[in-house]
Symmetry: C2
Subunit: 467 residues, 2 copies
């Protein structure tokens, strides 16, 4: 038996698994990437002690560690390969505290976002980060990727919802970062540094998160069709400029609506579609103002305060990913541009689609300029033309003042473009900061900016692996 | 002539000052601390080039640099002493861009917070960070200290208002951090790391900040007297728990009101006073609900939507600091505790006042649990009993789950308590991160967590120096 595995078994007993099927399940996430080989072992940590014991053994033996929650990541940051220990937080699911008075919750990292919200709703509270994966993704994973979602323009990203963290360093030491207070400036903001660090700096073993009171009032929901995607994008921009603050504002391009119509067998028009929802006490008033904006830009809109009708509109958006997956293999991209350049980015995507002859279908969180252009292709390997088109798309986003990734992270998927956005000097600085936390480079080597051997992966092997 | 000064003059000409009066002005800030000796020179940088040239010379010659804005800091982070270069950003005052569409502004670091807001208000916009010093403090300084203020419970601290930064490193290299988008997760969040770093990591030379639309509607303002400070604190806590969101909620203890009454010669009651203001379209409705909470806890309140009457109430709060300064030398503290423990912290302060026989007068940003207990004493040196009482107060705040400093920063004032809050391992980690940015330790040595010789200072010498 491998000596590292023997040490893990000795220290952690039944928390350690080397079951081949379990090991294989850690070779992939939701990015479509699959590592070339299975990891060494999985530690299903149930406590901070378990995490510390694992990291001590990893440091002593120089063994790489991939921290993993529910494996719902979209950039390959939590996939593991040969010689690596997977440190799973999925058994650390306790909600340690919910404070209505201080509007916070203290949780273990493996608690599912949806489970935390189910516990909060009974107290009239809400954890606002809402990645599309919230029913299946962990709070620890949300924090490790600084997850976004549909409600960020109004309610912020995960970074805005975390007050404090307990973190186990590469060498097994436990640190307490941040605080329970809403303000605090003692020293450098290491909580913010950990958020979005994708498993490269330390293991998040506990989080103190901000919670909000649930909005009151009846939501008002609008579905609007537009003749061109640029007009729909313009309507979204004008709404924000008018001081309206939708909770949700999703834009689907005509190709997306076409696929959704086919998938649902519904009589949906193959035109650009803007889905807008207002919440809170002013919802109805804001929605009326939004309707005026939409109609002034040629949009054909319906407004409803009826929950069933609203759900029918939202169901169109929810059908987006299943509709694409029914048609082929999907590579989800995640550029984010300044809101005002959303029409220009849509135009650039159309141009890139034509130039490279690839199929791109786009949905955007229009309120914050975050687009998910989805490349759809046949087979299990990403065609060269898709990578070339993706490259052109990233360059277009950067030219417009945007970023490679609004909410999915870098992982292995965007590593090759990192320097284009950050520049050499900043990449070097980031690597040096990583070395402070993890001098021997055992935390998620080969991911994000970190030096070390690239993980050998193939895209689209998932089907083969899980069949 | 000193060779460093000669090099600076050669590279930067008239931007360099060695005028003794100007040099002396950099020995102090608003903390009451004064350095023991004057710095070497001041560079009044007018451009990023000037900053880079200064840092290159500083690195070549191993000369420490203290970055300084308006000198309004309350923790001594920007005071300079013998052998140090002061790098002033006060001439970098351009507002480079205001975008209504993207709700952002791009500014140089020396622009005064109030001047930026004056430029924004014409466009219906607003930069929300509102330290009490906003009429005289710079945006760069607000960012370097992660400044808070009166409106943070509703509108957040400076960290929430910064999208991107240009930073000159110790060696003179220019980095661009963050982006113009509201979302972005490419690599580690170095913008957040810079915010609140108090001049220890780099020189902020440009900032892209979020701006908001100005709130609509007429503000509703409440002034309420309470029999005990604990009851006033409880009313503040219950308001938050009831889902009310005041823009401003200030709590003054009876001793504060007594001094304010004397200072203004006004008929103000020497009882605990809670000042609450709601803004936005629901202001009136929220204020009525707040009145009910206040009265249920025995508060005696008046509510007004009249601007003049509101200003009269706010004038009481504004008179707090002048009233104390008229009575003696003031040491302003800045603990922050979880909101629910605000009554307990007030109780602890009263106990400490009695135990150490010192004069403590307290105002609190009650909405976010941030208290400013002010020690008032005679003469120019802080009496030993005041330091002992401050120590007891910090320990009490930490016991309640709070922090040493909610918004003023560590500087030199709180250095001695840093390990009590962060622990040895985290302080070491923070120092190592600083070394990545500033390997030769020339940026603000002796401040916050940084190693190096402590700056020799005395408290309360300001009067002597400025007379």
């Amino acid at each position: 038996m491998n000596t590292v595995v023997a040490q893990l078994l000795d220290a952690l007993g039944s928390a350690v698994s080397t079951d081949p099927i379990e090991l294989d399940s850690c070779r992939l996430d939701k990015s479509g990437h699959v590592s070339a080989s299975a990891p060494l072992a999985i530690v299903n940590a149930a406590s901070i002690d378990d995490v510390q014991a694992t990291m001590r053994i990893a440091t002593e033996t120089g063994t790489p560690v991939v921290v993993r929650g529910a494996g719902t990541g979209l950039a390959g940051a939590a996939i593991a390969s040969d010689g690596e220990i997977v440190l799973s937080t999925l058994r650390m699911t306790r909600i340690l505290e919910i404070s209505q008075d201080d509007e916070l919750a203290v949780v273990e990292p493996g608690v599912i976002n949806g489970d935390l919200n189910a516990a909060l709703v009974a107290k009239g509270l809400w954890f606002t980060p809402d990645p599309a994966s919230r029913a299946i993704s962990t709070v620890g994973g949300n924090i490790a990727t600084n997850a976004g979602g549909l409600l960020c323009a109004k309610y912020g990203v995960t970074r805005e919802a975390v007050l404090g963290l307990k973190v186990v360093l590469a060498d097994g030491r436990l640190l307490t970062l941040g605080h329970r207070t809403v303000k605090g400036v003692t020293g450098l903001d290491l909580v913010a540094l950990m958020i979005g660090s994708e498993g490269t700096l330390g293991v998040i073993v506990e989080a103190t998160v901000k919670v909000r009171r649930l909005p009151t009032g009846t939501p008002a929901t609008i579905g609007a069709y537009f003749g061109t995607v640029e007009d729909a994008a313009r309507a979204a921009a004008v709404m924000t400029t008018s001081g309206l603050q939708p909770a949700l504002m999703e834009l689907l391009d005509p190709r997306a609506m076409e696929r959704i119509a086919e998938f649902l067998g519904a009589t949906v028009r193959a035109e650009s579609f803007l889905l807008v929802q207002f919440d809170g006490r002013e919802a109805a008033e804001e929605a009326v103002a939004a309707l005026a904006v939409i109609r002034s830009l040629g949009g054909e809109a319906t407004l409803t305060a009826n929950a069933e009708e609203a759900n029918a509109l939202i169901a169109l958006r929810r059908a987006f990913h299943p509709a694409l997956e029914a048609r082929g293999t999907v590579l989800i991209e995640d550029v984010c541009v300044p809101r005002s350049t959303l029409p220009a980015m849509f135009h650039a995507i159309e141009e890139i689609r034509d130039r490279f002859g690839v199929d791109i279908v786009t949905v955007a969180h229009a309120g914050d300029g975050n687009l998910h252009p989805n490349f759809v292709f046949e087979g299990t390997e990403v065609p060269a033309a898709v990578w070339e088109a993706a490259d052109a798309m990233f360059q277009a986003a950067l030219r417009l003042g945007g970023t490679l990734t609004g909410e999915h992270g870098v992982g292995i998927l965007k590593k090759r473009w990192l320097r284009d956005e950050l520049g050499d000097a900043q990449v070097e600085l980031q690597r040096n900061i990583k070395r402070v936390f993890d001098p021997s480079g055992i935390l998620n080597p080969g991911k994000v900016f970190s030096a070390g051997n690239d993980v050998s992966t193939a895209h689209g092997m998932r089907a083969a692996l899980t069949e």
